[in-house]
Assembly symmetry: C2
Homo-oligomer: 367 residues x 2
């Protein structure tokens, strides 16, 4: 019968959730009709006047607007949305609001959305694919005009849902390879390869990688870039040098310690992102080693604090705000029926700072 989860229906959900207390009914806001009554005109006339329609005489328009303002009239976007069939609202799904990457992307999106008088409905998935589906469904119920998903693990779970939804969707920086998905991505592989090559150029031969185990597409690509650089340099890939974190600083600490406990520890490490790099740097210091002098570190993203770390972090910059802006602009195109949008790709740029330096004299050389 294929209906494994009948309880997952719309209405069913609501009853299982915590219930907020009953809402007080505040004294109703004035409606278009109230204004019409006061102005001795019909409701549509009020509607027209407030929309600056040329179909209403200047004087009546002025009178109406005056009354509307006096009454503190504020058109109901929900009523308007019901009839116009669009809400001038887009949904933004992020893994966590307080992630610096997501924050900057969100800023680009929000700013652009606002320029067009759109509002942003925020939802976090906390890297839980099930929850991600839930919030997307939620957004659909609220009839958002479009959705942007930033840095999700867009599991197989969600794909059919998204296809069924027929709401325009743009993905930022992590697309599940599929035709119908529009996305803005960065050159993950090339970016990480450049970072690794930079280290190799500094004489490093034992270069490690701390990844993200959440299964993001971006991690797969960055890891590939790292490997490519090693292989190309004739160094080859050593499995013991590729460990996994979760994109958070704290987890990276343990991952870095693990690397430093190896018989032949790395002299450099490429990190999935800046948060990871920050954790790695801390682990390095906590062992009495010096970042750059003893172990070089690279990050990815170039979040705002990267330049303020000591030493400042060498990292692969993503133009995050710009990517947010592009995502929003692509979404606008999609919403207006231009299927052209498709994939946009931005280039990554290596920013060399103090966290990377020449490889130290090797004492315990392997072989």
């Amino acid at each position: 019968m294929l209906e494994k989860s009948a309880s997952k229906t719309t209405g069913a959900l609501r009853t299982t959730e915590k219930r907020a207390p009953a809402l007080r009914q505040s004294s109703r806001q004035p409606s278009i009709k109230d204004i019409a009554l006061l102005a001795h005109v019909s409701h549509p006339t009020v509607s027209r006047a407030l929309q600056n329609s040329p179909l209403v005489s200047a004087e009546t328009a002025a009178k109406i607007r005056k009354i509307a303002e006096d009454q503190g009239y504020r058109a109901s976007a929900v009523a308007r949305g019901l009839v116009t069939r669009h809400t001038r609202t887009i949904g933004l799904v992020v893994t966590a609001v307080d992630d610096p990457f997501a924050g900057e992307v969100a800023r680009g999106i929000e700013t652009t959305a606002n320029d067009y008088h759109y509002a942003v409905l925020l939802a976090s998935s906390h890297a839980d694919p099930e929850r991600e589906c839930k919030v997307v469904e939620e957004l659909a119920e609220r009839r958002v005009d479009g959705i942007i998903v930033a840095s999700p693990r867009l599991g197989a779970l969600c794909l059919p849902l998204l296809k069924e939804l027929d709401v325009p969707i743009v993905l930022v920086n992590d697309q599940y390879p599929s035709e119908f998905v529009h996305s803005v991505t960065i050159a993950n592989q090339a970016g990480m390869r450049v970072a690794a090559e930079h280290l190799i150029g500094l004489g490093h031969r034992r270069v490690a990688y701390i990844g993200d185990r959440n299964g993001f597409q971006s991690n797969t690509e960055r890891l590939a870039g790292y490997k490519a650089a090693l292989v190309r340099a004739g160094i080859g890939f050593a499995a013991e040098l590729a460990v996994e974190g979760d994109g958070q600083a704290e987890t990276a600490i343990e991952a870095m310690h693990e690397l430093l406990r190896l018989n032949t520890p790395p002299t450099a490490v490429c990190c999935y992102n800046d948060m990871t790099a920050m954790g790695a740097m801390r682990a390095i210091r906590s062992r009495g080693l010096r970042v750059s002098h003893d172990v070089s570190v690279t990050g990815f993203d170039d979040v705002f604090f990267a330049a303020y770390l000591a030493p400042a972090l060498t990292t692969v910059r993503q133009p995050m705000r710009r990517m947010g802006q592009m995502a929003m602009e692509n979404l606008f195109k999609l919403m207006s029926g231009q299927e052209s949008a498709a994939r946009a790709r931005v280039e990554a740029e290596l920013i060399v700072r103090g966290s990377t330096g020449r490889a130290p004299r090797q004492e315990g050389h392997d072989e």
Copy 2:
């Protein structure tokens, strides 16, 4: 006539904004009536079935739900909002999404809101009071059930608007002193005083302050706490030691340089927040001085990266997520008519780390 800005009316705005391209009308989503037709029942019955009302027989309910799911039916929150008069949406106003403080508060809010099946509409003011009013108005039009304003400069501009709005509002960490405003704040003054006392206890006599010129209430209070500590220690307040940034790292660099150029530069500095402290630390290093050894630094907030700076930042911790949660819970109370909420106050806690140390031997002692 008191209508200084007739053009500020609702409808008028929209025409001056950039216009997004016309939206395509996607093939309509199934409505409750469509389902009713297929199930050979009336619309209200469908509505009831989908809400798990006991007023509908188990079999019809099952049949209806099956059809609804097959059709990919998704109840329209906008239609529901029109009749129920609440949208299960709250508005969140922040100065900037990508600010780490705002981000963590937002996370607390979002998580709590979601527990109650509420959604969050995001709006940033970018510290522009005019824009702040605009977004609040915008939120009102969208008929949010409540509003949380985090760290705004709630100028006089907004106050009358907020009062008129009759939407429940909770402020986080920056309240304009007024009776009708509900807020969650931290003990700004006490917190900063403890930080300053910590430095004084370490032997520092030249203690500076880098504030925030945006005119936040929190800055006024923190500055007062700083002064109080100095006065109480018999050191007294020196105007030249109190300079202003804007809460961002970059501006703090210049502010710190200014302090270090003084004839008798400070040996310690209290910063308005962690971002400011981060900038100050960078300025200190760029002059060849060492943080802690030469100049001690304290922050405020304890954002996630504070512990990862080198040296780790001594700072006054705000339980940001918790504050977000409290704000949301207070808002729920307000929305349910309990006027009790009022002000909630949380305590600040000094977290001592490596960025503060004993005052250096003073060479050029004044007097």
